[in-house]
Symmetry: C2
Subunit: 241 residues, 2 copies
């Protein structure tokens, strides 16, 4: 940021100021909740480097197309799922000399949430995109440092689950409190007290009772939807970690 620039001399394919900028990519850890499991979206890489391994949905920032970093994330996610996620937030940026065999590279990593049903059809039609349950990822070969990124995203979501109901954005528009609690339990890695969970949500007025019910076995459960303010609401007191 301390170099005088004359853009008129710039040639295409190199920085007008002659500075070599690292390769800049954006990746997303897209979570969903399906069949009582926490899953993330992975893409089978078909080209080098790391061809054949699984990677996060993402790619190179295209300065001609993308107006900002989030636009890149969205573009790549829409490409794989058909729709925009209900939640998208920056996680962390990793950049160093070693993470990519091509040399110094940077990835801006996002965390995203989406309802499984909303994109199930599109994901099924694309052959190299798949939802993978987090507890079945151990033996998968993952590209670059993506396993680390996933771990960090998981930890971030775990914290969020302790003091907010943001994970609810991984559920369909209408959901039961049981589903939301189970999702939180998966993220936190521990069973929660039903009473505590429901009480705090009710007291903060974070959900709207749709009036509808859903029944599978036993007593029908009320179906709720998220309030807009739920995205940013933060409980003063955490659930037990």
């Amino acid at each position: 940021m301390s170099r005088v620039v004359d853009e008129s001399t710039a040639a295409p394919g190199q920085r007008p100021d002659g500075i070599l900028s690292p390769l800049l990519t954006v990746d997303s850890v897209l979570f969903t909740y399906h069949e009582r499991l926490l899953k993330i979206l992975l893409v089978k890489r078909s080209v080098e480097p790391e061809a054949g391994k699984w990677g996060l949905p993402g790619g190179i920032v295209d300065v001609a197309v993308d107006s900002d970093l989030q636009a890149t994330a969205l573009r790549k996610l829409v490409d794989k799922t058909g729709i925009a996620p209900t939640y998208l937030d920056q996680l962390e940026t990793i950049g160093d000399r070693l993470r990519d065999p091509r040399g110094w590279s940077v990835t801006v990593c996002y965390t995203a949430l989406i309802a499984h049903q909303a994109c199930a059809y599109h994901v099924d039609t694309v052959s190299d995109v798949r939802w993978i349950a987090l507890n079945k990822m151990r033996h998968l070969r993952l590209a670059f440092d993506h396993r680390e990124l996933i771990k960090k995203a998981q930890e971030r979501m775990r914290q969020r689950a302790l003091y907010s109901i943001l994970p609810g954005y991984a559920l369909p528009e209408l959901f039961t409190l049981g589903e939301l609690q189970h999702l939180h339990e998966l993220l936190i890695g521990k069973a929660l007290q039903k009473r505590s969970f429901r009480r705090r949500i009710e007291q903060a007025g974070l959900l709207v009772d749709s009036g509808q019910k859903r029944q599978e076995q036993g007593r029908p459960a009320a179906l709720y939807r998220l309030r807009n303010k739920s995205l940013s609401y933060r409980f003063v007191r955490n659930l037990e970690g």
Copy 2:
């Protein structure tokens, strides 16, 4: 990430793959506590763009020198303060077409903390670097989107002050509980209950009593130092926002 590359054809000054990467910079919001004020380090810009305005300490990532992004942040901070900050953590990455007149650019922004005394001498000797109190920044002309970055860093620190004693890393090695509390009050923007503040810190065992005392007026205050674990400790219950 889906392009085959032949590095051997690369010419210097442009990406080997012919992709135009945005300008990549790193900036830091370095906080300190001095004379009962919260201050940040600003640098008077001497070159275009935005010459004459104040900006955050930072600069372009040098892939030949920096092993990773944090190394760039550190290098630039050491350059301005003479030493490494006691705390350095990534805040957020901003990247779009408009924030820099030179075109699409990205800044990876860090939040940092340091004791004022530790770098006071070095900062005083450099003419275009200055500690600016946060409450006296209104009328300053700031470069790029740096005012926004500062605001975001402040909000992040505010949250941290509610559930941790991380702000303590902006204090000298030995400090009083009164100083730490006042720093938290500045960040949170509200007076705190002395009893609550001390109780939770004591119970969590986050500080070590050095045995020394400091006296200015009235009863001498005990001098404490941070425990290592204090960096990551998170109270289950927040102070009132």
